[in-house]
Amino acid sequence: MTASLKLQNITQKFGNFTAIDNISLDIDAGEFIVLLGPSGCGKSTLLSIIGGFLTPSSGTVLIDDKDMTLVQPSIRPTTTMFQDYALFPHMTLRDNVAFGLRMRSMGRADRATKALEFLDMVGLKASATSKPHELSGGQRQRVALARALAVNPDLLLLDEPLGALDMRLRRQMQDELKAIQKDIGTTFIHVTHDQEEAMAIADRIVVMNTGVIEDFGKPTDIYMKPRSQFAAGFMGEVNFIPGQLIAEQDDEYDVETAFGVLRLSSRAFTAGTPNVGDKTILCIRPEQFHLTADDTSKQFLCKAEIVDGAFFGTHFRCQLKTANAPDLLLIAHLSQSTSLRAGDNMDLHINPQDLIALPTDPLSS
């Protein structure tokens, strides 16, 4: 089963501290949503509110358009997969998976059959009579997933479920989670602080910071067209170039920066179009710098000198100094085949279409 989720003006206060500040969110049935943010941003608190473990200070939780704000976790159509798995240590895997069905008064034989089906789905049917302490971390993870899905929830809530796994296992579990989610169609809401994980699995990502939603959208949009400086910076390395809007004409905007006047289209202003004279911040990803203008879409930006560089496997990461903006250290990811050393000079080119212009963030400026 699957259901939509609507959060309306959710606020959660702990004493004087506001953990969630007036959040509203609309999630469609069958989506794989990732709540992404640094620790302390309120993402786990929000998940607890959706799961019913916390009653928000104000606001409404609607699941399938029914008000669930005050409904106990035991009768909500949600189940949670906990970070520490929270398996029942004294029960076999089969009894662990069958527990929710037992609570729903399903007969012994039926729930054993059903539990084996779900253990089979996660590839652990052969270990049905083992106890959790006999399993590895990844296997426990799978049992927790099977147990949460066995009761056929409308919403599965995953609280940093892959946090304790090593890198390779994490990648593998991400693929499996995504495949299982597509297969059964249940709405998944997954909490993580790992932006790569978010991009790997999410249909849509909710970027959170200090209790508010900074950005919400498809991984490509959040990476390529972030709507806040925080979202841009959290999704990966980014260069922020301060500028000022000096002219507007026919859907084209001139922004004056240390690198001269750059002409942007209105699409670059993802957080709304500013007025002429406003300050703005231009964002460009390190991989969007080019050494040559190999086609007409690219234009010369400036001359730069390498301060430092390191080989990262997929790219060369260079720190660059420019004469135009001596205080600004640019980060560029250049192709693996470039052989450059500290002190070398180069021409930097950009495609103006890659630029995003954001309002200046009062916190980070």
Partner: protein, 264 residues
């Protein structure tokens, strides 16, 4: 040379300390097999006749059964109440939690004699006749703090999340407690249970002051002793010791198994 010396010294210490602890028990057990009427050296020869006499003595066997019943009953009640108190204090927000914890464990510091006297006065006052039940109640009073302390110490936050998961999957509060919390804490509950059993099994002062016609084994042994030492008292003493040893081994097994499981 020096190494050899220190090795001899540590072996000497090892032997001395275990002799000190166990010599009385060894002597007790040895002279329970004494072929003669006095449980004192010299050892005349080996016989089982004192054990035969112990188990032929109706008063002694009745007292043995009384002791077992009181021990099982009082330990079960003490464990149950201790578990409920620990669960309540660890899982719910209650007023003055720290103070209640102190209050629950305080009887550990009061001597059994005082507890027995207090209960004796109380039972007289409210008109409860002394019986094995009153002994059992006395043993619950002394073992409850112990059970509470052991079980409370084993309740951690990790289990809290597991209980959350059970609730999330549809269990109500009672189901969480019975199907998840209690089985999860079973090693420490069993440890508390067996420790209570040994304490109740050996206990004399409360059993002496709070019983009347039916008595427990330590009280019966005490009245036996008043008519003088015979190898029979050694034999019944050895039975008591054996029982305690068995309980201790069971305790060790449960605690040990519990630990290894948590590590895994």
């Amino acid at each position: 040379m020096r190494r050899k010396f220190s090795s001899i010294l540590s072996w000497g210490y090892f032997i001395a300390i275990y002799t000190f602890i166990f010599l009385p028990v060894v002597v007790l057990v040895l002279f329970s097999f004494q072929d003669g009427n006095l449980p004192i050296p010299p050892f005349n020869g080996f016989t089982l006749k004192w054990y035969v006499e112990v188990f032929a003595d109706e008063k002694l066997t009745a007292a043995l059964i009384n002791s077992l019943s009181v021990a099982f009953f009082s330990s079960t009640v003490a464990c149950l109440l201790g578990f409920l108190a620990a669960y309540g204090l660890a899982r719910y927000r209650l007023p003055a939690t720290a103070f209640q914890r102190v209050l629950l464990t305080a009887p550990l510091t009061v001597s059994y004699l005082i507890i027995a006297l207090g209960l004796l006065v109380l039972f007289n006052w409210i008109g409860v006749r002394l019986s094995l039940w009153t002994v059992g109640i006395g043993h619950v009073v002394i073992n409850l703090p112990l059970c509470f302390a052991i079980i409370y110490a084993s309740m951690g936050d990790h289990q809290k999340n597991i209980e959350r998961a059970a609730r999330d999957l549809g269990a109500n509060s009672l189901q969480v407690m019975v199907l998840v919390t209690a089985p999860m804490l079973m090693p420490s509950i069993m440890a508390a249970f067996f420790l209570s059993l040994t304490f109740s099994w050996d206990e004399f002062i409360i059993a002496f002051l709070l019983s009347r016609f039916d008595v427990t084994l330590p009280v019966e042994i005490w009245s036996l002793l008043r008519s003088g030492l015979t190898p029979k008292t050694n034999a019944i003493g050895s039975v008591v010791f054996l029982m305690s040893a068995v309980l201790l081994v069971l305790l060790e097994i449960f605690v040990f198994r519990g630990r290894s499981k948590h590590d895994g």
